[in-house]
């Protein structure tokens, strides 16, 4: 082979391999290609009831709440923290929505109340982590285990036998559409843009990554680590409540026991698939969204595959392991060493 040509190839390949973005995107592409084989009309997109309709839209549609929660999780993980209570925050926000709708409040006020509840949950977690210095995994575990109980107590305020409701505003945000596009995708994009502006166009993102990278050093540099961590948990709580509004309005009912069950794990997974490290110090917003899309694409493919549901979790676990292996530098190094070793 010509040496020059080889060099060009290598730099191109290396740059590609060096890019964090390539592996999750590759995983997403592989999943979508496999889907095309499973179901021939997988890529069809039609217009039904005035909105775009198809498997690809479904993936975006269903990934939106997880992606919103994962964005908040990415911020908290950036501070070297973790928030296990996002599912409970969603349950509380949902219970408040159903309760106040039964009480007859204005639906716009109810939206603000639900978001306020998310902020309150964030303040509580932030107080425990930044104020009292409790380990994040323990601090947020408290709300994780108690939050769904709080949601059930709220349901009891109005009898709690049938917490279903109708709301044009909230359901508009969740299952409605503007022109042809589902509103929740627009809401998700708006949240993404707002978060990106706050983190990248102010110093907040830098501060969070500094605190996550090395709290002591950033304190010496004049960053108030406590306030930064506190803010991160509030952002996470607020975003979880946004997802809570979408999920609760989606099912027209408050179900604190099972709504968004294990979403904290999917959110953490999305952050990790997106290249984030639980050691903190880095926030990758765009890649986190890709991570959420990978998870949802996988879920959707399992649903349409016709495989017995007993296999769902095993397949999910295998694909996740595969994606994480692709991302692991050590594993990649192992393979490139093997490839580089001259054959005897």
């Amino acid at each position: 082979m010509v040496t020059e040509r080889k060099n060009i190839d290598e730099t191109w390949l290396n740059r590609l391999k060096g890019s964090r973005a390539i592996w999750p995107l590759l995983a997403l592409a592989v999943i979508l290609i496999v889907d095309g084989f499973i179901s021939p009309n997988f890529y069809d997109i039609r217009i039904v009831e005035g909105r775009l309709f198809g498997n690809l839209i479904d993936i975006l549609y269903r990934a939106t709440p997880t992606a919103i929660v994962a964005l908040g999780m990415a911020v908290v993980i950036g501070t070297k923290g973790i928030d296990l209570s996002v599912g409970s925050t969603i349950a509380i926000a949902g219970a408040i929505i159903a309760w106040r709708i039964h009480a007859g409040d204005s639906h716009f006020a109810i939206l603000l109340m639900a978001l306020g509840a998310g902020i309150a949950c964030g303040v509580w977690n932030g107080f425990l982590v930044a104020g009292l210095g409790i380990q994040p995994i323990i601090a947020t575990l408290i709300l994780m285990v108690s939050g769904r109980g709080i949601g059930m107590l709220i349901n009891l305020f109005y009898g709690g036998t049938d917490p279903s409701f109708e709301s044009a505003l909230l359901q508009g945000l969740s299952t409605g559409h503007i022109w042809l596009i589902p509103t929740r995708i627009i809401v998700g994009l708006a949240i993404f843009a707002a978060l990106w502006l706050v983190l990248r166009k102010t110093a907040l993102g830098l501060f969070i990554e500094a605190v996550g990278g090395n709290a002591a050093a950033s304190s010496l540099a004049g960053v108030n680590a406590r306030i930064i961590i506190f803010v991160a948990y509030i952002v996470c709580g607020l975003l979880a409540a946004c997802a809570g509004v979408i999920l609760t309005a989606d099912t027209h009912t408050s179900d604190p026991v099972s709504v968004a069950l294990y979403i904290e794990l999917d959110a953490i997974l999305a952050v990790v698939i997106g290249g984030g490290s639980l050691a903190g110090g880095r926030i990758y917003l765009g890649m986190t969204v890709i991570g959420a899309l990978v998870i949802q694409a996988l879920t959707t493919s399992i649903l349409i595959s016709g495989l017995p549901p007993e296999y769902n979790l095993i397949i999910k676990a295998l694909v996740v392991v595969f994606v994480l292996l692709l991302q692991s530098k050590n594993v990649r190094a192992l393979f490139s060493k093997k490839a580089a070793r001259p054959s005897p």
């Binding site: 179901s39 009309n41 997988f42 039904v48 009831e49 309709f53 198809g54 498997n55 479904d58 269903r62 036998t161 049938d162 279903s164 299952t175 999920l247 989606d250 099912t251 027209h252 009912t253 179900d255 026991v257 099972s258 709504v259 968004a260 069950l261 879920t299 959707t300 649903l303 349409i304 016709g306 017995p308 549901p309 007993e310 769902n312």
Partner: protein, 305 residues
């Protein structure tokens, strides 16, 4: 140890004496906990109907813990109640405490879930609904409503859970009698509205808008309610385009039945005191061998009833 036994014995003697003085039958009821909608309703019904049968019910909530439940049952034995009703938290680990009850001559009745014991004579009988029967009833209704020709999508409950396994088995047992009835897609919706909606959205895509699908069978109403929303959002008419049959008969499915968006729901009764107390009291009056499982009959509701 012996002192304990003597003490327990004397307490038992005094308690049973006191009970016989009062005339009412004292029954200890150890309930699993208060999760979901159905179980609290079941507990309340047991407490409310106790008066009708002149039963002094001692109620103990195990809060989902077996050790709590064992403690409650031992307390009932020490109090010398006339009979013990247990809704077991788990199926295993019952041999010792049931033997203690037998030694104290207190008959034990199981409700709701089953237990696994080496010696079946340790309990009198199990009185409960039959998940398998619920599935069969749903299948029988659908066979009649579709005249035996039907492609079905199924929303399963949580994978591996007893109601999901038995409702599926019962349903399949009936539709297997009809060569033109088959389940063309089945997935788990985890017994939740959210899960049912997600699964139905995927089914709608994979079957080209439920083309040729005649029915949706859901292992509980919550999943069916989610499926109804998914179908409406896709411009389909649940209840008309597709027959909707599910299990539980919760308040929200009653509305859906009234609106014609659901067609049938098998009731999971919470008002079962009226089935349980007569069996227990009858046995106390006249102890005799009973079947090891007394099934509480299921009921199926449509828009008309």
């Amino acid at each position: 140890m012996s002192l304990k036994t003597i003490l327990a014995g004397s307490v038992f003697a005094m308690a049973s004496f006191a009970a016989s003085m009062a005339g009412a039958t004292t029954i200890g009821f150890s309930q699993v906990g208060s999760e979901g909608d159905w179980r609290p309703a079941f507990s309340k019904n047991m407490q409310d109907t106790a008066k009708d049968y002149d039963v002094d019910l001692k109620f103990a909530d195990a809060q989902g813990k077996q050790e709590e439940q064992l403690r409650a049952v031992r307390a009932f034995i020490a109090q010398g109640v006339d009979a013990i009703i247990i809704a077991p938290v788990v199926v295993t680990g019952w041999d010792d405490v049931l033997q203690e009850a037998k030694d104290a001559d207190i008959p034990v009745f199981l409700v709701d879930r089953d237990v696994e014991v080496k010696d079946k004579s340790l309990y009198v009988t199990r009185i409960s609904a039959d998940f398998n029967l619920e599935g069969r009833l749903a299948g029988a209704w659908l066979a009649a409503a579709s005249k035996g020709t039907c492609k079905i999508v199924e929303l399963q409950g949580t994978t591996g859970s007893a109601p999901a396994i038995e409702r599926k088995k019962g349903f399949e047992a009936i539709i297997s009698q009809f060569p033109a009835m088959e389940i063309v897609a089945t997935q788990s919706g985890d017994f939740t509205t959210e899960g049912g909606k997600k699964v139905m959205e995927a089914f709608i895509k994979s079957t080209n808008n439920l083309d040729g699908i005649c029915a949706s069978f859901a292992h509980n109403d919550n999943m069916q309610l989610g499926a109804i929303q998914a179908m409406k959002e896709a411009g389909l008419k649940p209840g008309q385009d597709v027959l909707m049959v599910s299990v539980d008969y919760v308040p929200a499915i009653k509305d859906a039945l009234a609106k014609g968006e659901a067609n049938a729901s098998v009731e999971l009764r919470s008002a079962v005191g009226g089935f349980i107390y007569p069996v227990v009291l009858d046995y106390l009056k006249n102890p005799h061998e009973l079947d090891k499982w007394i099934v509480i009959p299921s009921d199926l509701h449509t828009a008309k009833d």
